[in-house]
């Protein structure tokens, strides 16, 4: 009999706001967090837009020297984790260190640190290399530092499954709690890759939107006029907990994680196949893990990146799994229309959005949706305006380069 896993804390840092309250309010208002790149000089780049975190003050969470040496992907994770743990009431009732795990994924980790370090070698010489360059570049250092800050000595890990990393962290955390390895896990994703290498590299793949004249309209998942994704950054963290422990300490329970699944496409390094068979299998498996039928799902927070291939094939996959229900009552939206694509952080942030939709009875919109792609014909993408709806079950899907598929299913908590 596997243990039940519930969500008792939420924390986010995103281009829409550096707290859950701010980000959720912006999502409900259909606001865009996309603007012109300021983190580096993008004058010569074909892509000049991104969803950047704004006005983030790390000193609320770390010391001055830590703020100096820790890459932003670590700082965003520390902040979001602190907010999630505070939200979970850990300051009053914290699990024993050996029972508290940390699983925080990131696609690329300390990319800014890597770039600056390399520049230092080329311009100033090896002797000027910081002793913190290596540790603070490692993708798992977000989990490492959060473990120190939150005194977590249980399971610790960092999935690096690209754009599915944050969702995979949640999947792994659920597995640990279900089999009793941990009583609670701080889980999600973090990313701070708005850098010359990442933007230049994605641009070389022609996968980023070049709608530089209208940044806030560039991320347009499922829309016919989409031309690529908008890179962004931030962190999305959940506190996942064994239901029995949550009950014992009288914790607020936001939702239950009733199903998780992971599958591989084994098709191409960066593109899904037509129909996205791997995603179909993954969603079906998540429903089976949750012991529910397709028509029990009220809302899907889609991967919906705003690329030609993902959005067309994801719509096809949803129709395959949900049949007629996909074009009758199912609500689907992509919050990437507002945040941009937070890469490894997106799975964490979008899990938070799915849980919020259950708590608040509001489904965030897919903004910039003027005219849906044919593949999505008949589907309700909650175009442009948030929708009041009773959301009992919400699914969140994340797909990553390397053909990685993740699906998470959340339900309002029933005793």
């Amino acid at each position: 009999m596997r243990r039940r896993v519930v969500v008792t804390g939420l924390g986010v840092v995103s281009p829409l706001g550096n707290s859950l309250l701010e980000s959720w309010a912006a999502l409900c208002a259909g606001k865009s967090g996309v603007g012109y790149i300021t983190k580096f000089d993008a004058a010569d780049y074909s892509v000049k837009i991104a969803g950047e975190v704004k006005g983030f003050d790390p000193l609320s969470f770390v010391s001055k020297s830590e703020a100096r040496r820790f890459d932003n992907f670590i700082l965003y994770a520390v902040a979001a984790s602190r907010m999630a743990c505070e939200d979970a009431g850990f300051d009053r009732h914290r699990p024993l260190p050996e029972d508290l795990g940390v699983i925080i994924g990131s696609a690329i980790g300390g990319l800014t640190t890597v770039e600056e370090t390399y520049k230092t070698i080329l311009t100033a010489g090896l002797e000027k290399l910081s002793p913190f360059a290596v540790p603070c570049s490692l993708a798992n250092m977000a989990a490492g530092v959060v473990a120190i800050k939150e005194e977590a000595r249980g399971p610790i890990s960092c999935p690096t499954t690209a754009c599915a990393a944050g969702a995979q962290a949640i999947e792994m955390a659920v597995a640990h709690i279900r089999c009793g390895n941990a009583v609670a896990v701080i889980a999600g994703g973090t990313e701070a890759a708005v850098t010359s290498l990442a933007v230049g590299g994605f641009a070389a793949m022609r996968t980023l939107s070049t709608r530089n004249g209208e940044p806030q309209k560039a991320s347009r998942p499922f829309d016919k006029k989409r031309d690529g994704f908008v890179i962004s950054e931030g962190a999305g963290i959940l506190v996942l907990e064994d239901l029995e422990n949550a009950r014992k300490r009288g914790a607020k329970i936001y939702a239950e994680v009733i199903g998780v699944a992971n599958s591989a496409d084994a098709f191409h390094i960066a593109a899904p196949p037509a129909g996205h068979e791997g995603a179909v299998r993954c969603m079906k498996r998540a429903l089976r893990d949750a012991s529910i039928n397709p028509a029990d799902v009220d809302y899907i927070n889609a991967h919906g990146t705003s690329t030609q291939l993902n959005d067309t094939y994801e719509a096809q996959a949803i129709k395959r799994v949900f049949g007629e229900y996909a074009t009758s009552q199912l609500l689907v939206s992509s919050t990437k229309s507002m945040t941009g694509h937070m890469l490894g952080a997106s799975g964490g942030f979008e899990a938070v959005a799915a849980i919020q939709s259950i708590r608040e009875g509001i489904v965030p919109p897919t903004i910039n949706l003027d005219s849906p792609d044919e593949a999505g014909a008949g589907m309700d993408f909650v175009a442009n305006i948030a929708r009041k709806a009773n959301v009992d079950v919400a699914m969140s899907c994340s797909f990553g380069f390397g053909g990685v598929n993740l699906s998470l299913v959340f339900r309002s908590f029933k005793d």
Binding site: S46, A204, M205, R206, H268, I269, A270, A271
Partner: protein, 78 residues
Amino acid sequence: MTLDEKVINIIAEQLGRETAECKPEAAFIEDLGVDSLDLFELVMVMEDKFQVTISDEELKNIRTIQDIINFLKSQGVE
């Protein structure tokens, strides 16, 4: 070596194919099983070897090996 032969040799080398397979009328995606990333990389090699620039707009018109040969000729490459 003619320009046609040079181009075919480069393509064969890049794609790991026999030159005989790389006929001028061969379409990259449909006939040679090339994907978009392979094509972007191939175009960069052409730009490098022949000192030309192929814009994203022009790239949209490149479907076959002959299209590349024609483009190079239009840029005065011999």
